[in-house]
Symmetry: C2
Subunit: 136 residues, 2 copies
Amino acid sequence: MFSIGELSRRTGVKVPTIRYYEQMGLIAAEARTAGNQRRFSKQGLERLHFIRHGRDLGLPLETIRVLAGMDPTDHAEGHRIANAHLADIRDRIARLMRLEAELVRISTRCSGGTADGDTCSVLAAFGDHDQCDEDH
Amino acid sequence: MFSIGELSRRTGVKVPTIRYYEQMGLIAAEARTAGNQRRFSKQGLERLHFIRHGRDLGLPLETIRVLAGMDPTDHAEGHRIANAHLADIRDRIARLMRLEAELVRISTRCSGGTADGDTCSVLAAFGDHDQCDEDH
DNA sequence: TCTTGAAGCTCTAGGGACTAGAGGGAATAT
DNA sequence: ATATTCCCTCTAGTCCCTAGAGCTTCAAGA
């Protein structure tokens, strides 16, 4: 049986975060000591690893709850969630890459070498959305 | 002079969000009507464009506040902020791409075609952090 | 056995960037 | 004059934690 601190050390999840997960119903302490302290079994440890891993992958807690409560022989559903999330991540990458390109454009345009008294073109670019590739 | 709704339509920033920005001290209505409604000038419109653009670029409101209050001839500082943010975005892209690779690995390993009664390998992979490239 | 210090407990509040809803008043078009 | 649309403030909720106050329990050494 592990204490909450032990669990924290073994998973890298902070103590208050574990308590928060408990409050959200994602994990439960198997037992409490006479003095009301949480004790977790190996199962709890594994479950917390599962949660942690899901979070590292960027899954919202709600999705993790669904996965954790899933029938482990239901291939289709697990697959569907993984693929949906993959699409989401690819979308985020694409958007960030557009931002990257725009920031490079903004930043290289202002070498800082223009005459004194000029408005910095970084600042100008931030104000001028029309030069931006994005469609809003 | 624009009403808040007019401003919203012209910038794509939702009305409650504009009020929120005002509350946070990022923008101020130039005037109020006799009936206490906000009226914004062209300057307000430009400022909101600036905020919007910064947010689209992923800058936190605090950074936008700094940029907006900056000396417009201070090239070095504008440059520094843009570059710092660029580094941040590149970091985020790198992390997301690692996630993408791992999700692809997880998802392709489970074709859903294994025998009935097997544990779905998507689920197994989520629980097994050791197979993951990331260092935690 | 006693004592100390680390670790645990609950509860509450904060953060960032909004979003939604209630319950009203103001502007505008007919 | 009225109907409709807009606007007002205020409060609370979202997500995923994080931090602090104030107190209790545990484990190890003297």
